[in-house]
Subunit: 396 residues, 2 copies
C-alpha cells in the first residue's frame, strides 16, 4: 500500500467518523460503524486518533439500548476553536466557531472605503478575534485556524484573492498577510463556495443518509450578485481555477443589457439588486429594494412586474443549474430571498413553468438553514476540514 494512498484513506475515514460524531453526538462506536459502513476495528482506531487529536471525548452517558452497554462519544468542544470570517464590500464579520459548527460569539465592523482598506481590514479582523478570545477566555493555543469567505475569484490553494470587484482587489496575498498577524493557519475561499459547504454539511445527514446516495448540493445565491456553488461528497467542486459556478456571467441574450464585465446580456443583468433598481427608476425614483417591495405591497403594477420578472429569471437560473449539475438538493439563498418574505415561495411556484419533465422531481429546494451566519460557519468548516485532512491539529 502506497503511503499517499494510506494517507488518503486515513483522511477519508477521519472525516467520515468526525462527521458522524458531529451530527449525531452522543453516539457509540457501534452506531458510528453502522452509520458509516466501517468495521468496528477501523472505527476504534480512528476514534482513538480523534481522541488523541483532542477533537472527541468519551462521555459519562451510556447507550440506552438492550444488550451490552456502550460508552458514548461526543465532540470535545473545549479542546479547540476555529475562526470564521466573512469579508464583504462594507462589512466584516468574524465568529468563534466550535467543533460542532456552533457560533460561540460573533462581532462585526464596518470597513471604510479608502486606499488603506486592506490594512484596515486585517487590523479589524485581528482586533475582533482578539476581543472575542479575551471575552470568552480562550487561550491562543486552542485556535487551529481561521477560514475566510470573500466575494470574488480566489486562489484557495495559494491563499490569494485573484480578483474581487466588490473589494477592488487584484492579486492580494491575503492569507499570508492575515496569517502573519493572526498567528494561525488561514484558509481563503470564495464566499458562496464556503456558504454552500456550511449549508450542506449541516444538512446532508438530515436529508440523505451518507451511505446511500452521493449527496450533490448546488447553492444558488441572488442579491447584489448572482452565483452558484456545488458540493459533492462534502467537498467544494472548484473546477480548474476555482471559478466554477460563476453563472452570473452566463449569457442569456447577446443583445441584452450591458454588464459590468463588458459583455451583454449576462444573467446577472436580469436579477441583481442593481438591475432591478435601474429598471424601477425608469418609472419612479427608488433608492433600494426595500422601497421597491413597498411599492409592490401598495399595489403598484410596475413594481409587481419588476419583481415578478426577477422571480422568473431566478427560476430560469435554477433550471439552468439543474440541467448542468443535476444535483439532488438546491439551496436558494441571497438577500433577495432572505430579506423579502414570499420570494422563496414565488420562485418555487415559477419553477413549475421552467423545469423540464425529466428534471422535475430530481431535486428538492431548500432555504438557507444558517442564514447570515452561513459564510462564517462554512469558512470555519473549511479550515477544520483542512486541518483534519492534513492531521495538523495537535492537542495543546
Amino acid at each position: 500500500m502506497e503511503k499517499h494512498d494510506q494517507e488518503f484513506i486515513r483522511k477519508k475515514n477521519r472525516m467520515l467518523v468526525f462527521n458522524s460524531i458531529q451530527q449525531h453526538h452522543p453516539i457509540s462506536r457501534t452506531d458510528i460503524a453502522k452509520l458509516s459502513g466501517m468495521s468496528a476495528a477501523t472505527v476504534g482506531r480512528v476514534v482513538a486518533d480523534l481522541i488523541e487529536l483532542g477533537l472527541v471525548k468519551e462521555t459519562d452517558q451510556i447507550s440506552g439500548g438492550v444488550g451490552r452497554k456502550a460508552t458514548m462519544l461526543e465532540l470535545d468542544l473545549e479542546s479547540i476553536m476555529t475562526v470564521g470570517v466573512e469579508v464583504d464590500r462594507n462589512l466584516t464579520k468574524a465568529a468563534l466557531v466550535d467543533l460542532s459548527g456552533r457560533i460561540i460569539v460573533e462581532k462585526q465592523q464596518l470597513i471604510d472605503q479608502n486606499e488603506k482598506q486592506l490594512d484596515n481590514l486585517i487590523d479589524a479582523i485581528v482586533r475582533l478575534v482578539a476581543e472575542m478570545a479575551a471575552e470568552q477566555g480562550i487561550p491562543h493555543s486552542k485556535f487551529i485556524g481561521a477560514g475566510v469567505g470573500l466575494p470574488g475569484i480566489i486562489d484557495s490553494e495559494q491563499g490569494v484573492v485573484v480578483f474581487s470587484a466588490q473589494l477592488g482587489w487584484r492579486n492580494v496575498p491575503f492569507a499570508e498577510r492575515l496569517e502573519a498577524r493572526l498567528n494561525m493557519p488561514v484558509v481563503l475561499d470564495n464566499d458562496l463556495k464556503v456558504k454552500a459547504l456550511g449549508e450542506s454539511s449541516f444538512r446532508s445527514l438530515d436529508v440523505i443518509p451518507a451511505e446511500t446516495v452521493e449527496n450533490i448540493t448546488a447553492l444558488v445565491s441572488v442579491g447584489s450578485g448572482l452565483g452558484a456553488a456545488l458540493i459533492m461528497d462534502q467537498k467544494i467542486y472548484r473546477g480548474s481555477r476555482n471559478i466554477a459556478g460563476e453563472i452570473g456571467h452566463s449569457i442569456i441574450d447577446p443583445n441584452g443589457k450591458l454588464c459590468e464585465c463588458g459583455k451583454r446580456g449576462c444573467l446577472q443583468t436580469y436579477i441583481t439588486d442593481l438591475a432591478l433598481l435601474q429598471e424601477a427608476n425608469q418609472i419612479r425614483e427608488v433608492s433600494n429594494l426595500q422601497e421597491l417591495f413597498r411599492y409592490m405591497e401598495q399595489g403598484e403594477p410596475w413594481a409587481r412586474s419588476i419583481i415578478d420578472r426577477a422571480c422568473s429569471y431566478i427560476a430560469i437560473t435554477i433550471n439552468n443549474v439543474v440541467c448542468t449539475y443535476n444535483p439532488n438538493s438546491i439551496i436558494l439563498t441571497g438577500k433577495f430571498i432572505e430579506e423579502h418574505p414570499g420570494m422563496f415561495e414565488a420562485v418555487n411556484l415559477k419553477l413549475q413553468e421552467f423545469i423540464g419533465e425529466h428534471f422535475s422531481g430530481s431535486f428538492e429546494m431548500f432555504r438557507s438553514k444558517l442564514g447570515e451566519r452561513s459564510v462564517m460557519i462554512g469558512a470555519a468548516k473549511l479550515v477544520l476540514q483542512q486541518q483534519i485532512d492534513y492531521g495538523l491539529i495537535h492537542k495543546s
Copy 2:
C-alpha cells in the same frame, strides 16, 4: 484497513497503471512508477495483477537508456476484446475495440422505424458482432463485454433507457435484453457521456500530465441535439440521475420559440439542425443543412446570417458551460462542427466576444480526435473501465 477501502485503492491503482501502459507502451515498470508517482513495489504488484488478468505482457524490447536494462511492458492486444456500440435514430454502428482503444473492425446497419424496432435493433447488434467476430476469428471467450452509447436519459447503473425521444423509448431494460442475447456483460450510457469519455481518455495524457493538474474536460456537441458532458479524473460526472449536462434545455428566453419539451426559449431552439432549417424555410425551401451551407457559400446573406447567429449561440453555450464547470479543456464536436468546414474556427472567433475576462485563457478548445467513431470507442472504454474496476476479467 477496511476491505472496501483496499478495493478502492486497488481499483484506482489498477486503472492508473493500465492507463500508463495504454498510452505509453512499450514502457518499463520504472517509467510507470515515475509517471504515476507510485512506488516500485506497488507498480510491480499491480503489473503482476494485470499480467495475470491477461491485459498486459512483457515484450522482448529492452529499455534503451544507460544503466540497468529494464524489461518493457505492453498491452496484450490478443488476450481480450471489447465491443463498442452506438445506437442512433436510424443507424446502429458496432465495432470490435482492442485494449489500446483501437477499432479492429466496424460495421453498421440502418434500422427501420417500426413497432418492432427494439427487437430489430438487438437482432442487428447481435448479428453485427457475430459477423465481425467470425471474420476476425475471435472466439467468444475473448470478449469481456459490450458498451452501448444511446441518445437520451440512461440509468447506467440499472442498464435502463429511461427516456429517449430519438428512439421513442421509455423505461426499456436494454442492457438486460442485449446481455441475454450477446452473452456478455453490457453497459449502457448516454451517447455524449461515453463520447466525452472516449475523447478525454485518448487525449488527457497528451495534454496534461495526469499527476500535475486534475484534468477536467467538458464536451459540447451540436447537431440534431445540443448537449454537454463532463469528465473529471477520467470518470464521467453523472449528477444524481445521470442527466448532468442536458444543457439543450437550459433556458435563454422565456418568451422564445417553443421547444419540443414544451418549454419556451430552450438553448437548443437556437442551434440545432431543425431550428436552423425552420428559420431558413421562412426565406426559401431548404431541406437540409448541406443545402443551407451551399446557399451561404453562394453568397446568400440570409444563409450567412442564420449560420452566423448559430455560431454566436454556440459560443454563448461554451461560455455558459465554462462559467458553470470551469474545465481546462473543451471538446467542441457534433455534426454541425464536424461536417461543415470552418465552423470550429468560426465559433472559436466568436468566443472572444462572449468569454469573460477571468475565463479567457482558462481552457483550451479542441476538435474531436476520434470523429464518428468516438461513441463506439468511448462505450468500449466504459465497459473496459468497469471490468478493470471490478476485476471481473479472467484470462480465458
